[in-house]
Amino acid sequence: MKKRPRIKIPEGVKPGDVIEIKTLATHIMETGNRKDAAGNKIPRDIIHTFTATFEGREVFSAAIGSGIAANPYFAFFLKVSGPGTLELTWIDDEGETTVEKVPLVVA
């Protein structure tokens, strides 16, 4: 992705909290259904997989089709056990993998 994804995590997190993580990636999410001016099919180019892990353990994932809107937005929850690293991964049809590691500060 040319632009880094935006990630929002609440502040003042305590152990045991269930917090919402908001993510917004920048991607065309080309459906593969459209044709260009010459009538040729525009090939599909979407983010097909999004995963979120915390300290290496899976928290949430999404297997995505062309029915998710451009600039895919996903908000999901994490039950906080303690401090650690949240790792978010987006993979698109061209094989481009974008990884963001976010430290979670726990009070």
């Binding site: 269930v18 459906t31 259904n33 949430f60 297997a63 089709g65 809107a69 895919p72």
Partner: protein, 157 residues
Amino acid sequence: MDDDFGIKVIQRRDFVLGAGAAAMLAALLGEARALARSAEFEAALAELLKGATPRTGGIDMDLPASIDNGDYVPVALGVDSPMTGEDYVKAIHLLSPANPRARVATFRFTPLSGKARVTSVMRLAKTQEVVAVAELSDGTLLMGTHSVDVKVGGCGT
């Protein structure tokens, strides 16, 4: 014509007419259903249910009842669950019966999620009844539907 017991006996001619009308109605309904639900959708749903009958309801589907731009339809899906190792929601599948592709997304959760809820933004090609199927850790399937009236369709169609 009434018989001795006061029960109305349906005459053969009435029955034939009635049966004909019922068959026509069924054909019309079948056609409307076929228009509203793609073959790909029916196959995707059958694949998810694997012959089981899902429980209706239990999925909170937060979508607008009506939207101007089908390219950008906010959607939130949630299931009330303790989200423990013994009792949690494994997945919520989002399906579209009238988009070019029926499988919109499969969202997977774990007990680490703490809450089985996801918010995203989807595309809708036209007015339709969006379907969600949730898979619980004990194998229970839940199904919910939500109609969205789409003014201008998305999906690049």
